[in-house]
């Protein structure tokens, strides 16, 4: 157990060294409510959460606030993102605007995934209206095959509010893991709220 803690400590230090001094990998069970200056969410107990460093340029660009997993990020990942509307998407050149309808926002969000060169066989299972953090938005449920050939399924809630695009996503291998953790994800979704 002591050895495990030492290894975990080294891992956390090295992660911090890689992505910047303030990256935080929080072990299971120690914290469930994670908040930033404006948004917070209650994460499931027993899950590990990751908060990227301020200097992690890619995370900042994508507006990543938190990530969470129980068994490893490849097996199930939840992500909460908040980014300004004039920010660039990673793959599509399309832009958001504050007057867009939820389905228009969802279409651009999905176009970005569709334009991802390593994602193939994208299929939209369902794309419909939903609420996130009290705002009207979308819920997109889709499957795709990853670069390694694994069939994965994801659900993303998104909305535009206070000049920001807020998304909460869940991604897992379609077989076993997706249906196993989807109810937990839906519970997390209900806890996303503005703090100010």
């Amino acid at each position: 157990m002591i050895l495990l803690r030492i290894v975990a400590g080294i891992l956390m230090l090295s992660l911090g060294g890689c992505v910047g001094r303030s990256a935080q990998l929080v072990p299971a069970g120690s914290q469930t409510v994670l908040s930033t200056d404006q948004l917070e969410a209650e994460w499931p107990q027993g899950w590990m959460t990751f908060r990227p460093a301020e200097k992690d340029e890619e995370a900042v660009k994508q507006g990543l606030l938190f990530m969470a997993t129980r068994d490893g990020f490849g097996l199930q990942t939840m992500r909460l993102n908040k980014r300004p509307l004039d920010g660039e998407f990673k793959y599509t050149q399309k832009k958001l605007s504050a007057t867009m309808l939820p389905q228009e926002v969802a279409a651009i969000f999905l176009d970005d995934i569709r334009s991802h060169p390593d994602i193939v066989e994208l299929k939209i299972v369902e794309n419909g209206p939903a609420t996130l953090a009290g705002s009207q938005g979308f819920r997109a449920n889709y499957t795709y095959r990853s670069k390694s050939g694994l069939l994965r399924q994801a659900v993303t809630y998104g909305c535009i509010d206070k000049g920001m695009l807020i998304t909460l996503g869940f991604d897992a291998p379609k077989r076993h893991y997706f249906s196993l953790d989807l109810p937990t994800f839906e519970q997390v979704k209900d806890t996303v709220r503005w703090t100010s």
Partner: protein, 390 residues
Amino acid sequence: MRHPISFQLLALMLCACLVEGCTTAPFGSRPDITLDEDEQRLWKSVLEEERRLDQSGLLYTDPIVTDYVNSVMAKVFPPRSGQHSLSVEVKVLKNPLLNAFAFPNGKIYVHTGMLARIQSEAQLATLLGHELTHATHRHTIQELRGIRRTSAALATFQVLTLPFGVFGAAATALGGVGYMGAVTGYSRGKEREADEVGLDLMVQAGYSPQEASMLFEKLKEDLALRKIDEPFFFGSHPRVQERIDSFKELVADKYASRGGAVEVDRYYHIMTPLIVDNSETDLAIGRVALVRRDLQQILERQPNNARAHFLMGEAFHQGHDVGDEEQAESHYRQAIEADPRLADPHRGLGYSLLKRGDRFGGQSELRRYLELAPQAADRGYVEQALKEQS
């Protein structure tokens, strides 16, 4: 005998040149060509890269398209059994970027984005002839032999694929060999040789050499429209300009008054579905101007292509200029007229009509959309819109 050392040196250098010439003589030039150890290793690593690409899910597998591009290749390079060990085959990759590259074993990959830019079979023959020459003339191994440590060089190429950002991520599917062919290209001399031999091959196959430089003129126009260079060889403005200059000079020198087959109609007849598919990907990326131009070319040839009209409607719907929404509506209507059972144009038209206040017309089109596509993934939005309007 006044300069014995110099003479010996000269003789040695001559021998070295001859040996070098023998070991990299083009396939087909002699019957006894065998691969050296380093070239065998290269071919082995290529098989792995090829396997990765073929299993990536990125292959465009429409047999009509793949049979066609391979039939053009068979004209450019008729099979000559026993004279070479290449297994020549053309494969198409689903990718909207301008790219084509050859592996040393004769496998040639062409992106859908490149095929969408080509405007005739003769232009396709030009491209295939150019790429094939890199394989027949063993350019990859020659290039690698110029680098001290082959394995280190290949590893460097793989690492270099990473920092290209948005579009460059597509290059990460390639290994070191593919990267050299697709991204960096070969030395100026080898590219010139590929132009020259490729041009001879397409002329011998009966195609018009006058089409050769037109392909690259078109790519140049496209790069201007895209406003940025792409990471691949054929997406780089200076490299494309080199090809234009090179082909113009070669044609003027050797084939100034030579005509031949062009085959525009056949090319578009077979490639139209691919060009429309590629436009859908470009639309997702947000390259609206390119989509409008490509689809306009399709609609001039096939005015009743419902899917092209629908995507054109979507492209105008995403525009912000005066009249774009009217154009979108017009194309949705033409798509419905061409194929009333195609669901998507009804949704597009329905939303357009609602937006300009035609509640009855909009509702009617959205209901029709749901009738035609009862399992539509976006049913929720449509039902919500209908509910809000009732």
